[in-house]
């Protein structure tokens, strides 16, 4: 294949990626956009085997590695529960960052002392950011999978350790650029991995999606930088597109959650660790039976259901729809109040409810549902906590302060379906649970809802 034809097809793939991102930003064209992107990526992968000047020395090994990647990646993506999807995205992002760092390391080893300063700088950038993205993504995965605490991890002198690591990374980077040695590069990579861990540890669980989005943008930039080292235009275009759009997306997400990006990343340094002692004192709450809940619902005019991650975990989306259908058939006005970050990520809850075929017109965004709460008789909070926690408005300094919430306290009655008194993902006590108009129904969301449905049928 001639060089010109190869480059022309590379340009075609770049256009595919631009169309893909464009398509993904509108609901109508989103799925097609993703397919265009996948098509472009496939073309590029086939194409690279026909790159002029390639040796084909290791073609069997490379094809085997691609096949192995497909065998690992596709079933993981197909079988994953929709509830666990955010951590899978984090993990995919992490391995992408790791791949970019490895590519830069190999190219650096090969260039040796023939590397130009610009190449070395680009390599250093790729290795640092790729390593940060990799280790940071692994920590976000562990947090989302709840394999480690979802609270911000802050240790004494933490900020000095982080600053020290960063200085170490930059210092070794200078060393690499000056000496062109292999050992400094590996030390720099190790320090960058450590920095990735330290950088994500202090981030609270609720802010993790923003960090994933940021690391995603980082990985895009590393791909662009490795494209510079390899003189591959396609990598530069694709990586930069992801880096730029990812940065915008991160800002949009932070805005949707009412957080400043700076506050998210560095808030844990300035905030004092939350006192966990409050959990020790036992305060009275009003808990009710499924029958009590059914009676409240049955005599309501308007019911708003606030779904949260607990609903997703219990796989209760189908049962909640059954209950909503039952209430609608009794002439009760039912709507779902969807917080932008209900679930684990913006839009996550919409995906889950769409899976249960909840009619779109019943899904009401936060801005539209908030003014209707004073006219709402009953709010049923299913496995949500932080998104209705008034502390976001009343307690400056708490991790979710400033996040827009659903004003469920304005409604006549609030029913919480919860597994326990355990605080939500952000790890903050919810005062609303102790309010006089609040009723708690403890148990697995699906079992509780099933009981409520049968109680409703008997009324």
């Amino acid at each position: 294949m001639s060089r010109n034809l190869y480059d022309l097809l590379g340009l075609f793939v770049s256009v595919c990626f631009i169309m893909a991102l464009k398509g993904l930003s509108s609901p109508k064209s989103a799925r097609r956009g993703n397919l265009i992107g996948a098509f472009g990526a496939t073309v590029a992968t086939v194409l690279v085997f026909f790159e002029p000047g390639s040796s084909h020395h290791h073609i069997a090994l490379i094809l085997g590695a691609v096949l192995f990647g497909v065998v690992v990646g596709v079933p993981a993506a197909r079988k994953i529960q929709m509830t666990q999807m955010p951590q899978l995205v984090a993990l995919f992002n992490g391995v992408g960052g790791g791949a970019a760092a490895l590519v830069a390391i190999v190219e650096y080893l090969k260039l040796g002392s023939t590397a130009s300063t610009a190449d070395v700088v680009a390599t250093v950038f790729t290795v640092i950011v790729g390593c940060v993205s990799f280790s940071g993504s692994v920590i976000t995965f562990l947090k989302l999978q709840e394999l480690m605490t979802t609270r911000p991890v802050v240790f004494p002198g933490g900020r000095f350790v982080i600053a020290g690591t960063l200085v170490g990374v930059l210092g070794t980077a200078g060393w690499v650029i000056n000496s062109l040695g292999t050992a400094p590069l590996l030390i720099m990579g190790a320090l960058a991995l450590a920095f990735g861990v330290l950088f994500v540890l202090p981030v609270g669980g609720a802010d993790v999606p923003i960090v994933i989005s940021l690391l995603n943008a980082f990985t895009g930039l590393t791909v662009a930088a490795s494209g510079y080292v390899l003189q591959a235009t396609l990598l530069i275009v694709a990586g930069t597109l992801v880096g730029a759009s990812g940065t915008i997306l991160t800002r949009l997400m932070a805005a949707a959650m009412g957080r400043s990006l700076f506050g998210t990343l560095f808030g844990a340094f300035t905030a004092k660790p939350q006192a966990a002692s409050e959990a020790g004192e036992v305060r009275p709450v009003k808990s009710g039976s499924a029958e009590d809940v059914a009676i409240l619902l049955n005599y309501a005019q308007r019911v708003v259901i606030v779904p949260g991650f607990g609903l997703a975990v219990a796989q209760a989306q189908h049962t909640v729809r059954e209950m909503a259908d039952l209430l609608t058939s009794k002439g009760i006005d039912v709507a779902y109040g969807i917080h932008p970050v209900a679930g684990r990520m913006p839009g996550h809850m919409n995906v889950l409810l769409a899976e249960a075929n909840v009619p779109y017109e019943q899904l009401v965004e936060m801005e539209e549902v908030n003014p209707t709460f004073p006219q709402t008789d009953v709010v049923l909070v299913v496995g949500a906590n932080d998104v209705v926690n008034p502390a976001a408005k009343t307690t400056p300094g708490c991790p979710i302060y400033g996040m827009p919430i659903l004003d469920v306290a304005q409604a006549g009655n609030v029913i919480f379906l919860k597994r326990s008194m355990r605080p939500g993902f952000a790890g903050i006590e919810n005062e609303l649970l102790y309010d006089a108009k609040t009723t708690l129904l403890f148990g697995d969301a699906k079992e509780s809802l099933t009981k409520v449905v049968s109680a409703l049928k008997n009324l």
């Binding site: 993904l24 590029a44 390391i105 597109l241 769409a354």
Partner: protein, 104 residues
């Protein structure tokens, strides 16, 4: 224009395109868009294959092959999981009911 400068121009122009294409997107699509962008940077697979092809010794080859595996997981898995998310949004709510059985 030198080659380095040409690459820099491509980089800067791509930044503006990247900003432009996603400047208006509803919160509902944030997650799929992030996931789709995530799949796109799996294109590092092309770079991984290139360096594997040119590997001069076994160490370079091993590292490059690991990169190929990781990049493939990122790219293929990323597109598949994004498609699964977007599958949920397809069609009008009424139509979605009858199609749900087929998609499983």
């Amino acid at each position: 224009m030198s080659n380095g400068l040409a690459l820099l121009s491509i980089f800067v122009l791509s930044v503006f395109i990247g900003f432009e294409v996603v400047s208006k997107v509803s919160t509902t699509l944030h997650t799929p868009l992030m996931s789709g962008a995530n799949a796109i940077h799996g294109i590092i697979l092309v770079g991984a294959i290139t360096v594997a092809d040119r590997a001069a010794n076994n160490l370079q080859l091993i590292l490059a092959i690991i990169a190929v595996v990781l990049a493939t997981i990122n790219m293929v898995g990323g597109f598949v999981v994004t498609d699964r998310m977007l599958e949920m949004f397809k069609g009008k709510p009424r139509a979605a009911k009858s199609e749900a059985g087929d998609s499983k």
